[in-house]
């Protein structure tokens, strides 16, 4: 079945620095969704895209489904970006089973 690996598992930044988070998956996917989870909170969808690059605010997601990888770039990090970032590949038209990576825990200090 689908396996999802995220790296790094944790990342510590100074405010203003950029972050690059990686997501690799083992089986076919037609799109990749990135989520944010605040400490003790629920998951919020950040970006969802098939192959290609998608931007929203300071976030850029680049997904290459043929190579089974995606990255999330956070520019000019802020303390409020601290939390856990998770990715989940989805194969629309195939199984609805949705498996998550274990996440990258981001800590941004001022």
């Amino acid at each position: 079945g689908q396996q999802v690996q995220q790296s790094p598992s944790s990342l510590v930044l100074q405010e203003g620095e950029n972050a690059e988070l990686q997501c690799n998956f083992s089986s076919t996917a037609t799109q990749l969704q990135w989520f944010y989870q605040s400490p003790g909170g629920s998951l919020v969808s950040l970006l969802s895209n098939p192959s290609g690059t998608k931007h929203t605010g300071r976030l850029t997601s680049t997904t290459v489904t043929k190579e089974r990888r995606s990255s999330l770039h956070i520019s000019s990090s802020q303390t409020t970006d601290s939390g856990t970032y998770l990715c989940a590949p989805l194969n629309q038209g195939g199984s609805a089973k949705l498996i998550f990576g274990e996440g990258t825990k981001l800590t941004v200090s001022s």
Binding site: S42, S48, L90, Q92, L98, I99
Partner: protein
């Protein structure tokens, strides 16, 4: 934005008792999911559903049943709750982009 509502938000249950966690979505999504989240394990899929009447086993279904009586509702049932099922449970729905509920904190004593 799509809404997924979980109830209860907090629950304390006794070992051996029956627990039902409820999830409702009004987005007309076909796919719904139940996950548990524990420190050190991330989000693990318990059961999911393709639509009313369907339930599928996820990666950790043992000790859990699921029920999808309608498009809107998806329940997770613990027939005989055990302390190892103490966790935070999340429901989600979505047919492409997925949306999550706020979670249910279950403590089995």
């Amino acid at each position: 934005e799509a809404a997924v509502t979980q109830s209860p938000r907090n629950k304390v249950a006794v070992t051996g008792g029956k627990v039902t966690l409820s999830c409702n979505q009004t987005n007309n999504h076909n796919n719904m999911y139940w996950y548990r989240q524990d420190t050190g394990h991330g989000l693990r899929l318990i059961h999911y559903s393709y639509g009313a009447g369907s339930t599928e086993k996820g990666d950790i279904p043992d000790g859990y049943k699921a029920s999808r009586p309608s498009q809107e509702n998806f329940s997770l049932i613990l027939e005989l709750a055990t302390p190892s099922q103490t966790s935070v449970y999340f429901c989600a729905s979505g047919d492409g982009v997925v949306f999550f509920g706020k979670g249910t904190r279950l403590t089995v004593v």
